[in-house]
């Protein structure tokens, strides 16, 4: 079974790749066995992140950018991330709707993923999926996400080149962009730039970029009209320029190291949660202490220390 899947991934078999992602998402331990075998023979694809407010045209831009890469014969994978509902645990994944140009192309693999998230963090399966898709031979991986929460900023921050998309009518909305989002942007895309207010928006962006004070690389602003395919050439050229900049200044390697460092931390957190926190939560001692906390006979600070000591001697 495992050999079969590994073989399929290396050959670029879509069904096997897709099934392996499902395993990674749902049966973590089994997924780890797969990833252990892949890691050492895989070099990461070039990672491009794209983020911005809802309705700014991220999926349409993705469709057009991927088409350009395809003209050069590159194999491309897209990971489209949408938030998981905190209430139901479900998610609506609608990014494929605007990717109709490339969704029939055999050189493009699109996967929608929900943020899920444990401990308020990022779904660690997304990192694993990047590794898996790299092993499957995709040259570029484009990660698309709504740039609203910290999780999303974390995701795009791991990309080598991060595009932050906005639109003329975003107006004051851009002021509410998380400071972090302005800092992670390597390229700013002013989409729907055939609409009124584009000059004012460009000025606002320029001011914010200057405030963010990036070292070495001055993030350019590229005006696009994704639905008309305007500005996409310039955008992909700028992505290439940024890639060259990273390679020449050895920053690409640094970024890869940072991705792996975070993944290691993520995996540790995941294992601590599974092996320590969850067993404690399910123990009768936990319930007993909870009862006392409720009756205000004990404080949760002492209870946390006691539980760790009693159950795990730490």
């Amino acid at each position: 079974m495992m050999e079969d899947i590994l073989e399929g991934i290396k050959k670029g078999n879509e069904r096997k790749i897709a099934q392996a992602i499902t395993v990674i998402e749902n049966q973590r331990d089994k997924g780890f066995e797969l990833l252990k075998k892949l890691y050492r023979e895989t070099s990461l694809a070039y990672l491009v992140g794209i983020t911005g407010p809802p309705g700014s045209g991220k999926s349409t831009l993705t469709d057009k950018i991927v088409s350009k890469w395809r003209e050069k014969g590159l194999k491309v994978a897209v990971i489209a991330i949408d938030p998981t509902s905190k209430f139901s645990g479900g998610a609506l994944l609608g990014d494929r709707i605007r990717m109709s140009n490339v969704s029939t192309d055999r050189g493009v693999f699109i996967r929608s993923m929900a943020t899920r998230g444990s401990l308020g963090g990022l779904n660690p399966a997304i990192y694993d999926t990047i590794l898996l898709l790299s092993a499957a031979g995709y040259d570029y991986i484009l990660i698309e996400t709504v740039g609203v929460g910290q999780n999303e900023v974390d995701i795009v921050d791991l990309a080598d080149t991060t595009l932050v998309v906005t639109v003329p009518e975003a107006g004051d909305e851009i002021q509410t962009f998380k400071a972090g989002l302005m800092e992670v942007g390597d390229l700013f895309v002013l989409n729907k730039s055939d609409r009124p207010g584009v000059d004012k928006m460009q000025l606002t962006l320029e001011q914010m970029i200057n405030l963010a004070d990036k070292k070495g690389w001055e993030p350019p602003i590229v005006k696009t009209v994704a639905t008309k395919n305007n500005g996409i050439d310039k955008l992909t050229t700028k992505i290439n320029e940024h890639k060259s900049y990273l390679q020449e200044s050895n920053l690409l390697e640094d970024n890869r190291e940072e991705v792996m460092r975070r993944q290691l931390v993520n995996l540790l957190e995941e294992k601590v949660l599974a092996k320590i926190v969850n067993p404690i939560k399910q123990s009768k001692e936990f319930a007993a202490k909870m009862k006392k906390i409720k009756e205000i006979k004990k404080d949760p600070y002492t209870a946390a220390e006691e539980l760790l000591k009693e159950k795990f001697q730490i």
Binding site: E14, R15, A18, Q19, I21, T22, E25, N26, Q27, R28, T84, S85, F87, S88, G89, G90, A91, L92, L93, G94, R96, I97, R98, S100, S103, T104, F109, I110, R111, S112, A114, R116, G117, S118, N123, E270, A274
Partner: protein, 131 residues
């Protein structure tokens, strides 16, 4: 986080341009804790099967109001089998006359949900089939 979430593809095959029903179902399944991928309008059977494979869904829900189900659904089912994904549960909804239900069931479409079906009924059907 480690538990398996059911993943569903809601798809609109063919040329009909009405997707309110599909969107209502997508939202309802999301509220029931499922991860729902929506394809958008006017997809070919090939598009739908490819999306189902890349997303590795447990269920495909085909929504159709154009009357072309007897033409499009067999294509979807055949392509699924060709791609080795015949194990995906396929359900359908929309305007599907009673007399066509048996034809679709014979194709392997396991559930047919016409207008007025409570969403909970579809949720229960999926919960039961996918396990």
């Amino acid at each position: 986080m480690a538990e398996k979430r059911k993943k569903v593809l809601i798809a609109k095959p063919g040329l009909d341009g009405h997707d309110r029903g599909a969107k209502v179902i997508a939202r309802g399944l999301k509220e029931a804790g499922m991860e729902v991928v929506y394809t958008g309008l006017r997809k070919t059977p090939e598009d739908i099967v490819r999306a189902a494979i890349q997303e590795d869904v447990d269920v495909i829900g085909l929504s159709i109001l154009s009357g072309a189900h007897k033409h499009l659904f067999p294509e979807v089912m055949n392509k699924l089998k060709e791609e080795g994904a015949g194990d995906v549960v396929v359900i359908s909804g929309g305007i599907i006359p009673e007399e066509d239900h048996q034809f679709l069931k014979d194709l392997g479409i396991e559930g047919i949900f016409t207008p007025g079906t409570p969403i909970q009924e579809i949720v229960d059907f999926i919960e039961e089939k996918v396990n």
